[in-house]
């Protein structure tokens, strides 16, 4: 994989969500991603960044454009040092929520992207990595 854009963002308050969304959009536009995939990606980013803010107390986002073979894509890593998720399988189910959301965040975001990885340790934090391929 080669990298073109590489940008670090921090999510500390609600306004950061909009900034994050805009940066992701710029990266998606730059690699020529179509409007539907762009919209799916930005929506997923909005869900995951908000999760991080609400449940993880904020965190950091690493935004990169990536290449695999002839495919180009946008990769985003969300990292927080929050309480972690005790039961990831449960958290990935539609409608499951411990907070005030609708419980669509994680499972919904997973459906909207090409690749989705989640790792969480209670007391340490949560890392979510997503990739949306340009034509994926």
């Amino acid at each position: 994989m080669t990298t073109n854009i590489r940008e670090q963002l921090s999510i500390r308050q609600e306004r950061d969500l909009i900034i994050c969304r805009n940066r992701v959009k710029e990266a998606a536009v730059k690699i020529g991603m179509g409007i539907v995939n762009q919209t799916k990606l930005i929506t997923a980013v909005s869900e995951l960044a908000r999760n991080m803010l609400i449940y993880g107390g904020g965190g950091n986002v690493l935004l990169e454009t990536v290449t695999r073979g002839r495919e180009q894509g946008v990769q985003i890593v969300f990292e927080d040092k929050g309480p972690g998720i005790a039961d990831i399988n449960k958290a990935m189910q539609d409608g499951f929520t411990t907070g005030k959301s609708m419980g669509m965040g994680l499972p919904g975001a997973r459906r909207l992207v090409s690749e989705f990885f989640i790792e969480s340790t209670v007391g340490i934090g949560t890392t979510v990595k997503i990739i949306k391929w340009k034509n994926g």
């Binding site: 969304r21 539907v36 929506t43």
Partner: protein, 121 residues
């Protein structure tokens, strides 16, 4: 707009602003006695679960105040994404544009629709 309120969301809202909109809008429904609320979201590039919840709340609260909610102007890419996200918009009517949304609301108010049109006050 007479008995309907028209709200055009011009920019992507951050969460607190969306909550403020929800509150203001319900106050306006109460104050004006509007029978319908049209929310034009054609300028929104995404509708995530939070925005979806706000729209659902507006519809539910308006409904208690005897007003119907129609969301108009959703971008095709937003519609596709909403389905995949798995976000239902219960109690929310949708229409392609403001004209059709207006027609939908008008059609749902059989009683008081004499020949008076919607833009008198």
């Amino acid at each position: 707009m007479g008995k309907f309120l028209l709200v055009t969301i011009q920019v992507d809202l951050y969460d607190r602003l969306a909550l403020t909109l929800e509150e203001d809008l319900i106050q306006m429904v109460h104050k004006t006695g509007a029978r319908g609320v049209l929310i034009d979201i054609s300028a929104l590039s995404i509708v995530d679960s939070f925005m979806g919840k706000i729209i659902g709340n507006i519809a539910a609260m308006s409904s208690i105040l005897d007003a119907e909610t129609v969301v108009v102007g959703m971008q095709p890419a937003v519609a596709i994404t909403l389905i995949e996200l798995g976000l239902p918009l219960p109690g929310v009517y949708t229409a392609l544009n403001v004209e059709r949304g207006m027609a939908l609301l008008t059609a749902r108010m059989p009683d008081e629709t004499e020949d008076e049109d919607v833009d008198d006050d």
